[in-house]
Amino acid sequence: MTSVRASLSSRTASLVALLIAVLWTTPTFGLLLSSFRQEDQIKSTGWWTFFSAPELTLENYQEVLFGASSSSGQLASFLINSIVITVPSVLFPLAFGSFAAYALAWLPFRGRDWIYIGIFALQVVPLQMALVPLLSFFSQGVEVFGLHLLPAWNLEGTGRFVQVWFAHTCFGLPLSIFLLHNFMSELPGELMEAARSDGATHGMIFRRIVLPLVAPALASLAIFQFLWVWNDLLVGLIFAGGTAESAPMTVRLAQMAGTRGNEWQRLTAGAFVSVIIPLVVFLSMQRYFVRGLLAGSVKG
């Protein structure tokens, strides 16, 4: 009796699991399949009818990536922008974050705890709090009580990338310092002591001992920051402008979804182009991602 009930309940359970797995994959699969169908077919029949008359084309990808008309997407340009934005926006917070984390974890100096708590608390500040003043700082400089502290940057064209790097670095730093500090402070103190008595400088300890030991943490942090920057819409929208000169792919796709919401041949192919790179990174480094996630690193 118990075994019958147990097998019955395990069968229901498997069914529920299967249902969830199917529900979770079908939307993406439908989009992927549609992106390879011809325009008139996408617009007139559902993608599930594909199986009765299979026919595939790469035309949508050609058009959305390289098409000449301004309505076609020109995603190739935006794809390059996304790459140009992402590389420095991942490097800077990682490097500056690990410098700061090392100092906060292993250097005894007065006021250390206060600086740590301050940075810790900054995780609370939503980036919405910084957007308006930061934008005016780029265009007008910083002025406090009539005193010019910093000049305006007046960046145009590809110079806009610098603004985006700057913003992403600032917004990424609190989490980066917090996480790396957690990992670094757990390293054994004898290791540092031994190195120091052998005459190693802080630079040597940092490079030869600390960095190799926290490499897994750096890897998970790099994936987080990469996914965050690559998938970001808000920062790109505000600091990169809206043109092919410097805006990332997400900004372009959001534009297309708004103004050409029914041009499904472009939207499906475009969405897939933007999704494929993070998916590959994610699948190949899933282990680090999960580890970082479980370390409590969830972007604020």
């Binding site: 439908g30 559902g46 098409g67 100096f109 500040v125 308006v132 730093l173 310092i177 994610f282 604020g300």
Partner: protein, 325 residues
């Protein structure tokens, strides 16, 4: 089809990227050089200053000063010249459209965490120790790598509408038609459209809950599980008496992180409806007021309100996190 893509026209971007990377190497090199040049017998303060300088400078210019200025701006008029007191905050709580925004945000903050946790928990329990566990988890986890914009497009396609009688191209309407219903414009009718947007977020975040809760389930000591089995506990008893109490901290972490993330939700609403049809939320409204309508004061007030809402959640989150550790 007319194809036109000129890689050489893109070269300034790569030059800019090279400049960025060189600047990066230069700064990192400079910090390390200064660090090596400072003798170890110097006080730690000097070393710390060198190491902390880049981060602290950036945080001051990029976050602290702007946050203070935003707070000041929230008491100013739209163009930031006249002091208006609490007028912007009064606007937020009295204008009908602003109240709709608050109502929607509340729906997101309450519904998404609950649904995500429930689905993640059920799924994690079911696939635990099954043959396909890692594949099953990866499938549900994949949407986490997709941008909110990409997810918005994927689901806009699921919700696509064609008039009755015509072939449907959206999966949801096709299913409705198969069951003999009438196709509907899912994203147009308030307040149900907010629910259809929430579905998208649940789809993205369920993987997060699955992974965190699954790890928690696996860390339940096996002697507890064995003892319960020996005492003849069935699956249901097992779940409610053993699993659930053991993973309570993890469940709270998921609930809290999710609700706090939903406060700042922006991309999905922006991509799928642009905030029209009464679907706008706080962060979207903040963007509109500050960057589209030039109402800097109102935008700033919304940002400050966001900050006030987020603060206790994060403080709580940090405390539980410390307790877990």
């Amino acid at each position: 089809m007319d194809l036109d893509f000129d890689l050489s026209a893109e070269s300034p971007k790569f030059v800019q990227l090279a400049i960025g990377v060189v600047a990066f190497l230069a700064v990192v090199g400079l910090v390390l050089l200064l660090l090596d040049r400072t003798p170890m017998r110097q006080r730690a303060r000097l070393h710390a200053t060198i190491l902390l300088a880049p981060a602290v400078t950036l945080l001051t210019i990029g976050l602290i000063v702007p946050a203070v200025r935003t707070t000041l701006l929230s008491f100013m008029s739209g163009d930031g010249t006249d002091f208006v007191g609490l007028a912007n905050y009064a606007w937020m709580f009295t204008q009908p459209e602003a109240v709709t925004v608050l109502r929607n945000t509340l729906a997101w903050v309450v519904l998404v965490p609950l649904l995500v946790t429930a689905i993640g928990l059920v799924y994690a329990v079911i696939v635990d120790h099954s043959r396909f566990e890692s594949l099953a988890k990866t499938l549900v986890f994949l949407p986490m790598a997709i941008s909110f914009v990409g997810a918005g497009i994927i689901w806009k396609f699921v919700y696509a509408y064609r008039p009755e009688g015509a072939d449907q191209i959206g999966l949801l309407n096709q299913v409705v038609v198969w069951f003999g219903g009438e196709p509907r414009q899912w994203l147009l009718d308030s307040p149900l459209n907010t629910l259809f947007l929430i579905v998208v977020m649940v789809w993205i975040q369920a993987g997060f809950a699955t992974v965190v809760l699954s790890a928690a389930i696996k860390s339940i000591p096996s002697d507890i599980v064995e003892a319960a089995k020996l005492d003849g506990a069935g699956p249901a008893q097992m779940f409610f008496r053993v699993t659930l109490p053991s993973i309570r901290p993890a469940i709270i972490v998921v609930l809290v992180t999710q609700s706090f993330g939903m406060l700042k939700l922006f991309d999905i609403v922006r991509t799928m409806t642009g905030g029209q049809f009464d679907t706008s939320v706080l962060a979207n409204e903040m963007y509109n007021q500050a960057f589209r309508y030039g109402e800097t004061g109102r935008g700033a007030a919304l940002a400050v309100f966001l900050f006030v809402l987020v603060t206790p959640v994060v403080v709580y989150q940090l405390r539980t996190r410390r307790a877990v550790r």
